[in-house]
Structure formats: structure tokens, C-alpha cells
Symmetry: none
Subunit: 132 residues, 4 copies
Amino acid sequence: MDFRLNPNSGVPIYLQLMEQVKHGIETGALQHGDQLPGIRKLAEVIVMNPNTVAKAYRELEHEGYIEVRHGAGAFVTGKLNNQEVQDRMDRARPIFETAVTQAAALGLNDEEIRRMVEAELQKIEFRKGASH
Amino acid sequence: MDFRLNPNSGVPIYLQLMEQVKHGIETGALQHGDQLPGIRKLAEVIVMNPNTVAKAYRELEHEGYIEVRHGAGAFVTGKLNNQEVQDRMDRARPIFETAVTQAAALGLNDEEIRRMVEAELQKIEFRKGASH
Amino acid sequence: MDFRLNPNSGVPIYLQLMEQVKHGIETGALQHGDQLPGIRKLAEVIVMNPNTVAKAYRELEHEGYIEVRHGAGAFVTGKLNNQEVQDRMDRARPIFETAVTQAAALGLNDEEIRRMVEAELQKIEFRKGASH
Amino acid sequence: MDFRLNPNSGVPIYLQLMEQVKHGIETGALQHGDQLPGIRKLAEVIVMNPNTVAKAYRELEHEGYIEVRHGAGAFVTGKLNNQEVQDRMDRARPIFETAVTQAAALGLNDEEIRRMVEAELQKIEFRKGASH
DNA sequence: GTGGTCTAGACCACC
DNA sequence: GTGGTCTAGACCACG
């Protein structure tokens, strides 16, 4: 597995890392029991601060995606890949596959697509009734 | 125009403000030449610090959406309202309206929706050939 | 006399007005005793707030360039066009005529020329020994 | 690199800071990749508020001179060091070095020098055909 | 009236 | 360690 990181995207690097590990798990590229690269080794490969990688692993562990076994490494758990989240994701994926592809075809760049989504999210927040 | 802000959403308030002004401009609710509410006045209405509003206005100016005239107020620019972007946005809006609404109905929260979109964007980037 | 104002230059409008009146006086376009346009009339012509024009006149009076006679209008004084300032200006003018023309010929735009001058001014301030 | 600021010059402190960083970059004192002092550290050294320094850094980033990496620091960009601008600047510098020094020797103060330059810039604009 | 600058200091996020 | 956000409030400058 190789990682694609963009330090200038505004998205924190540790989140990008988490993102991609999660994505790997959700798509089956990373299976239950698979070992993730060591923190230092990965940090070296992606030319990032080990603390950044450590934070990503720590958060992934908090969320139950991986298990960090002291001295042994980090391993993918099967636990929190519970039906609920998995199913939601699986059912939603084709929706966004289509939407994003269409938008890209219309000529929108990443930035514009994100803004579009944010605008819609705010509309929904508003329907739920946020603060003033 | 009224603003709906959620100070606890994790999204910086000034960004939420920018988002909504942009949205207003893109949908035509704010037209070229329209004056935005005064910094202090708006700050009072939304119960936020004037500096926070000022920051939103300053950034919007940097991005070319508005023009801030010292002593006179902030005004919507016509520049970024070019057909191109406007049209792209207008054509893409219903796509995301549907997609995000469907996803929300499936139970995905904001965070999951953003991740889903990011994953799709990465897939597209990847097709074009990305870095690392 | 007509005025050239740029509300987007960053330079306050009232300063631009003062600038041009001074320039007129220094070059002889405005002579001792000449009457300046009325505040309201000028404001109308240049499409600016009368307060702005008033402020320019007030400052010009403070600096002794003009005399505002209540109910009669504003008139150019000969007083502060003393030899000293006049002479300095006259001797310095060709220097900058050359410098700015050369710089423009080299392709520098207004912004770059201003920055160049500011940098030099700071170097001089520094030689005189400013605060930290 | 050390900074020389004058809080009473009328020129905003954050602009003075920007000015000096830019100058450092243009003269080569600050090279591509160099790290600028930390916001709080610099604020302490120059005895100013960290927010003031932060504003200078933020603006410099907007203008492309530096890149601010959250949690890592601020770094000089290579982008704006393109030959074109650099060369223009280098060729123009001696012109203004001479001009400003001569003007200062003639007794003109900063304000008068700026006015002189503005007058010349207007003359050039005028030749090109200006507004109002 | 408008916006702009600066301060002081809390609290959070990232590397 | 780094920068980012937000608050509270003083004081100034522009129209």
C-alpha cells in the first residue's frame, strides 16, 4: 500500500493518512489482521514527521480501526468494521462516485466540488436547526 | 440575508461566514454592488466578535468575492461572477443536492460525507497520476 | 483643473486630492489667490463624499497651502510655498523624473516601484537608527 | 536576520515586517526554503504582539512570498523568486538607491519623497491615458 | 457611520 | 515546539 499525501491541501496530514487507511479497510485492500508499516519506517517513506504518523495510528486505534500492539506493530481489526458503518458507506459510495464524476466532467475542480458539498451540508445543518 | 452559524461544528466560524456569503453570491441572493452588513453590526447580530467577522470579510476580499472600502463598507464584487464558474456551479448544484440529501438519509454524518467525497476526489486525481 | 482619483489604490482619497492640489501649486498650475472649487461642487464632479473633500481642504489649510474663507470659498495662499520646500522639491524633481522613467522602462509596475522606494526609505531610517 | 521597526511612523507594523521580509527575499538574504522565526519568538524579540507578527506572515503567504505550515513554521517560497521579477528589481535597485539617497541629502523627508514618486507615477499613468 | 490596527490572553490543532 | 482561532476592548483613520 502506498500513500498519496498533499501537505498543501489544507487537510491535516494525519487526517489524510487516516483517510487512506480507512479507505483501504473499507475497500478490502487492508484485511483483518494485516500489519501496517511501522511508524518510523512509514514516516521515512512518506517523508513526514513520525509524530504525525503516530497521531494517525493513535486516532485510528481510538476509532477502533486498528490495534497497536506494543513492540509488535499496528494491525487491522475487524471489530469496528461493523455492519452499520460499512453498510452506510457501501450504499453511499455509488452515489458519490456518480456525483463527483459528473461534477468533474462538468469542469469543477476539487476546490469547487468541496465548496458545493459544504454548501449542501450547511443547508442540511440548517434544516436540523443550528444555533443562530 | 441572515446567517446560521454553529460554533461547535469544528469548522471555524469565519469560514462558515465566508461559505455563506459565497453561497449567497453564487445563488444570486447577493448581487454585484450589494453592501454587506457592517462588521460590528453583523458581529452583534450573530453574537460573535467583530474581529471574527472582519477576518471573514478580509479573506473574502482576498479571494475576490467582495471589495472592502475603508470607511464605506463591504460590497459584492462582480468579478468572480463570471458566467463560466457560475454556470458550472449551477449545473452541478442539483447533483450534490441529491447526493448529499440521499447520503444524509442513509445516516451518514457530515464527517463521513466529506470523507466519501475526498475518497472520490483522490480516485480522480489518481487517474490523472498523482505524486507520492 | 481636473482630478484623477483611484479609490482602489490603497492611498486614501483625501490624500490623493491633497496630493494633486499640492502638485498643482508646486508646478504653478495653481497660483496664489486662485480659488479652488467648492466642496459640494467638487464632490459632485469627482463622485466622492463631500466629507472627503472637506477633509482634504481642512488638511491643506492646516499645512498652509490654502486658505478657507468662510462663505467665500478656498483660495491658494502664497505663504507656505516658501523657497525652502519649493526649492527642495524643484531640485529633487528631475531626480525622480529620471528614476521613475527608467524603472518604468525596465518594466517595473507602480507597485514594484513603490516597494523599491519603501525599501530604500527603510534603509535610510535604519541608518538614522530607528527603534529596534 | 534582525528587524527594525518604528511603531510611530504611521506605517502599520505588520507592513513594515512584510516589507523587510520581502526585501530580504529580493536581495537574497532569505533563500528558498529558509525558515522564518517563529511567530511568538519573533514577537518577543521585536517586543510586539504575536497577532501582529501572525498578520504579517499571513499576508506574506497570501502574496506568495512564504508558505506557512501549521505546526511546522513559516518558510520562504521559491515561487516569486522567478528570474523576471528578480532581475527587474536588481536592475532597478541602484537607480532608487541613488535617487532616494540624493533626495534625502537635499532634505526631503519620507513623506515628500513618496509624494514625489506618486506624482511621477501619475504622470506616467496619464501618458497612458487615465480615468476621471 | 464605516473599517483597520494593535494589544492581551485563552484555548485548540498540528508536527 | 509550531501556527490557528476567538475573545475583549482600546484607539485610529476614512467617508
